[in-house]
């Protein structure tokens, strides 16, 4: 398993989290399309975020909808917020390309 910080330190995962940060539910297929990631890649990245408690998923017919974990531990919330805020800034947090 990957640590929380490592989970955030991957461009596609961070980009996915930024999409989820709108508070809505998003299926893997939508994230794939918006991030230009292959299906297996996207699915695996979401499973990493999930394994680290950052997101939760919900079966909805054929789809799996992901959301930011609403029960995120209190001490993690400001961290996530800070990471997302910093990701908005111009200085790259990550080496890869932004999405």
């Amino acid at each position: 398993m990957i640590s929380i910080l490592s989970a955030l330190a991957e461009p596609t995962r961070l980009a996915a989290l930024r999409i989820l940060a709108d508070g809505g539910e998003h299926c893997v297929c939508e994230l794939m399309d918006r991030l230009g990631a292959s299906q297996s890649r996207m699915s695996r990245h979401m499973s990493v975020l999930k394994a680290n408690g950052l997101v939760v998923d919900r079966r909805d017919a054929q789809w799996v909808r992901y959301t930011i974990n609403p029960d995120l531990p209190d001490h993690l919330r400001p961290l996530i917020d800070a990471v997302l805020a910093a990701a908005d800034a111009e200085t790259p947090l990550l080496k890869g390309k932004a999405a």
Copy 2:
């Protein structure tokens, strides 16, 4: 090179940053001792932090003193603070052992 978030996602580096967070200057030898890291390991970890702009170093006779980068970009400051704060909490941010 490693991204900023990846730089933080390593137990020894995060622990070093927590030591530097007291605002003081700390040489590699002190960090080695306090974190139980070998010399080359500690030196390399500090170079990663430095390469990512998180710390700065200064020659002082035989020693190299490291400090948190005082000119940290504004949008990174809250991120670092949040990471350090979260690292103080009980839930492990990283998989490795704390120091």
